[in-house]
Amino acid sequence: MDLYQITDQPIDTVEILQGQGEPGAGAQVLFLGTVRNEFEGRASRGLYYDVYPQMAEAQLRKIGEELKREFGVLQVALVHRIGDLPVGAVSVAVCVTGGHRDETFAAARAGIDRVKQTVPIWKKEHWDDGTSAWHDDAGSST
C-alpha cells in the first residue's frame, strides 16, 4: 500500500515495512533519516520541523507517483515527522518495494533526494549552546 504522510507522532517503521508486500517483489529498501548530534561540526540538541501540511502531503504523493513511473517500482511510502525532535529520532522514512534491487535502490535514493529538495518542510537547529537557527536562513545572525 502506498503511504504519503506528514505526522507529529513517532514514525512507525514496522507498520511501514509490513504495509508493503507484492507477489512480484524481490527487493525492499527502507531509508530512515535521523536527527544528528551535530551539523557542520557544531553540536546540536535536536531539530524543530515546520511544514506547510497540505502542500507537503500533496508533494509526497507526487514524488511517489514519479518514482513508480520513472523507476518501475511497485510500492512507495514517504513519511515525514514534524515538530520538535531529539537527537536520534527518525525524521523521515522512505520505503520502496520493487522487482529487483537496481531500480529499488535507485528509486529510494531519488525519493529521499526529492523529499529534501521539494517538500515544503523547514528545519530549525537547536544548537547545544542554547541558541536556535533555521537552516538556509541567509539573514540569520546565529
Partner: protein, 82 residues
Amino acid sequence: MATMRITVLFFSFAADRMNARERAYELEAPLTVGGFFDQSLAGPLGEPLAAWLFSVNQEWVSPDYLLQEGDEMAVVPPVSGG
C-alpha cells in the same frame, strides 16, 4: 478598482520576520504576486523576491500570477526537510 481579500501564510524564518504565520490582506486588483511582494512584503521579509518561492491555493506560482479574491498565498523559504 475592485477590492480583493487574500490570506497569506508564512513559514520558517518568513513567519519569524513577519511575526505571524498567517495574515489577511485587502488589496486593489489587478495585482500580481510579485507586485504584492514589492508593495507589502519585501520590507519586513528583508530579502529580495528571488529568495522565495510562492504558492497560491497550494500550487506553485510564478511572481506574475494575478491574485484573485479569496486566494490562499504562501511565502515559502528554501526547503530544508529530511
